[in-house]
Amino acid sequence: MIPGVEPAEETAAEESHIVANADVVKARQTVRAYAQRARLSLVDQTKLVTAASELARNTLTYGGGGTMRVSVVTRGTRTGVKVAFHDEGPGIPDLDLALTDGWSSGKGMGLGLSGARRLADEFDLVSQAGKGTHVVVVKWAR
């Protein structure tokens, strides 16, 4: 994910669909359970679940629905939670613009992507116009 950093190893994972508003709520609950399993602090759990909520909504609203994959990851002695969102929607034409605070293509405050990036320890976004969007966030236990 980050050049020069060895990839994290996944020890448990689960995938779910995000196609309705209720799935955003379920996504939050799933991420919370994984964050607790990885022993993230309460504040870090809250930050990760909030980031996941923003990204799940983006997947639904802008991506036209997609999937979420949650996993417990380890790198060396560290444990964390990785959440990956994938959709095959229209993609994001201008990533720099989309990651700017306050920029919004429609409803919302334009804090979704930029906020999620701030709340996570690692953030990776790949998007291709017409092909879809893949966003990954990782939060490590301290």
């Binding site: 919370r32 809250t46 930050k47 909520s53 909504r57 919302g108 979704g112 906020g115 709340l119």
Partner: protein, 125 residues
């Protein structure tokens, strides 16, 4: 059909206690319901208790700011009470400081703040 958040009337205050993880549609319904109830009941204050909420994301944050603004236009002050410390830390890092929203630590302080605001308010009736 989604559930709706109940709105309770206590004197001239409307109390909204959010007890479940909110779907986006419930958030939008609450905005509509509350606006209507303020007018129907001639409420002067709104207290929104979010102590049960484990997260407040930008959607819910925006709803709180919008409700406060709508209420003010309709003649009622809004106080958001009971925000958990982890939620507050996350909201600020997310980039939402809820600048236009009055907050209090708990229900009692929130109702107290509304009473004081009314007694000192420039308009009385």
């Amino acid at each position: 059909m989604t559930d709706r958040v109940p709105i309770l009337k206590i004197g001239d205050i409307l109390l909204v206690s959010i007890q479940v993880d909110l779907e986006d549609q419930m958030v939008l319904d609450l905005q509509d319901d509350l606006s209507r109830r303020i007018v129907e009941t001639e409420a002067r204050g709104v207290v929104i208790d979010i102590s049960a909420l484990e997260i407040v994301d930008s959607f819910v944050g925006r709803m709180l700011a919008t409700i406060a603004a709508i209420s003010r236009v309709l003649g009622a002050e809004t106080v958001v009470v009971g925000m958990r410390p982890a939620v507050a830390m996350t909201l600020v890092e997310l980039g939402l400081s809820l600048g236009g929203v009055r907050t209090a630590l708990n229900l009692e302080q929130g109702i107290g703040a509304l009473r004081r605001a009314r007694n000192q308010g420039p308009v009385s009736r």
